[in-house]
Amino acid sequence: MVEIHCEDLWKIYSSGTVALRGVSFTLVDEPLVILAGPNGSGKTTLIRIIDGEISPSRGLVSINGLSPDAARARGFFGVMPQEAMLHEYLSVREYLYYLALIQGLSRHEARREVSEVIEDFMLQEYASTRIEHLSGGLKRRVLLAQAFLGSPKILLLDEPTVGLDPEMRAKLWDIIMKYARERGSTIILVTHYIDEVRDIASRVLLLYRGQLVFSGNPKELLSKMGYKYRVQVRLRESKPLETPPLRLHYRSGDVVEFYVVSDEELIKLLNYLASVGDRVSEFNIDRPSLEESYLRLIRLLEGGDCG
């Protein structure tokens, strides 16, 4: 079991910047937690407090009842920091091997695990290459791979796929989830690509200006949008539709949108569109994205127009 408990966390840096303002939550055996929020909302600070890198100014963190320092001493964490550089004069294999020893593995285990992560993260071709000769994307992969050494109970990954192409991101999500499933780890993931992991995430934590403004599963965040489907209809001419079953929103002269809250409403709307089919040039149905829901929530907090 993995329990991460944060209670009334505050972090005020010596510069006077207040990075966290009374953040509290408890995570119990959550396979994948998305930690989201705008830049400067305190995500990286929260990660660094959880893994014991820095201490909170006030509040309490416990990992399975232990302080982060004690949990770290027991090798609970695998961390991929957001911006850390690597010791570039080492080869990929050397670097991972030394970090595996530092993680507490025996020499034999370290060699075996390093070979495994090199294969899993598709680094075989570069295993003997000095890190300084790798591209930025490959360095990110090495940085990510080191977090998985020693099968840590908790993986804290701070924007692991930033700067990678979509194909590589998809592969890395697969690898990350495979590890989490096989080893029962809890992953706390900071990412801007939240829709790429929405189906596998068990919880979303949303930070805004140092405060936790949302904690729940992705479906609950999606429900913040207030609709289930969005139907966009392009009309043949910009003459208004008569007696539609739902309130419509005009987007431009010949495009209208309907926000549908249930499957029943969707069927009713589709039947209506079929009845006025000669007026419809094309239509598109989509579900709200997690990113849209998140942005809507942020805009609400900022007191702006939610669109």
Partner: protein, 245 residues
């Protein structure tokens, strides 16, 4: 409980940089000590030449101080330390790793310098045990001083750490009587010289080569033992790795 593999891994991460950088190793073992040795030999009277030779050995050992203080500053600047901080490394293991790394980097360089000085006829080693003791004392005390400097400097700015550590290295090398005997200093500065560790490290190495610095050996032993104990206690009891933030 210290995990020796962890200590070894930390030491290798730091040591391989210099061991693979042949140009830097050439700078450390030849360029740096001998570019200072040659002009000092030219201007020094013949009776001070052996002191200049010991000073050259101390200058090479000073690298232990510089690298211990600056490795952490560089790691902080490049944010490489973040990865080590998230691993289960104790401050003691980290310090031992730095110590071992320094041994791998500096002690071979120091031996090379001593051999060259011996071949050139500038020093004559009379007591190998005492010489080894001086080198080990220098390696340990200078490394721990560098480590404490890095962790306790109030400023977190890289440039400040580098300027401070270079200034302290300068004092350790040139303000302390290592290139000259204690009696060459004005009377009022001699007490200050007694407080600088390199005075005593040079005294041991000098004694091993029959060079008299004018400091009683018993004073040197008491001073170095007290200092080493004090610095070790400070390192083990007070310093946390996350102090680098």
């Amino acid at each position: 409980m210290v995990n020796v593999y962890r200590v070894y891994a930390i030491s290798m991460i730091y040591a391989l940089w210099i061991l693979r950088n042949k140009l830097f190793y050439f700078y450390l073992t030849v360029l740096l000590p001998f570019t200072i040795l040659v002009p000092f030999l030219i201007i020094a009277p013949a009776k001070l030449e052996p002191f200049v030779a010991v000073g050259t050995v101390i200058l090479t050992l000073i690298y232990c101080y510089s690298t211990a203080s600056q490795d952490l500053a560089v790691d902080r600047l490049l944010q490489r330390i973040a990865i080590l901080l998230t691993k289960p490394v104790t401050p003691l293991e980290y310090f031992l790793g730095i110590l071992l790394s320094n041994a791998m980097q500096t002690l071979p360089a120091t031996v090379i310098v001593i051999v060259v000085l011996r071949v050139a006829g500038l020093i004559e080693i009379k007591d190998m045990t005492l010489l080894s003791l001086g080198l080990v004392a220098g390696w340990y005390i200078l490394t721990i001083m560098g480590y404490i400097t890095a962790l306790t400097l109030l400023s977190r700015d890289y440039n400040t750490v580098i300027i401070m550590s270079n200034s302290i290295a300068f004092i350790l090398t040139f303000t302390a009587p290592v290139y000259y005997p204690l009696e060459s200093l004005p009377e009022q500065l001699r007490i200050l010289a007694y407080l600088i560790p390199t005075t005593h490290i040079a005294n041991i190495i000098g004694k091993a080569c029959s060079i008299k610095y004018g400091v009683p050996l018993i004073t040197t032993y008491i001073y170095l033992l007290t200092l080493a104990s004090l610095l070790t206690i400070i390192t083990l009891k007070s310093l946390k790795l996350k102090d680098v933030y």
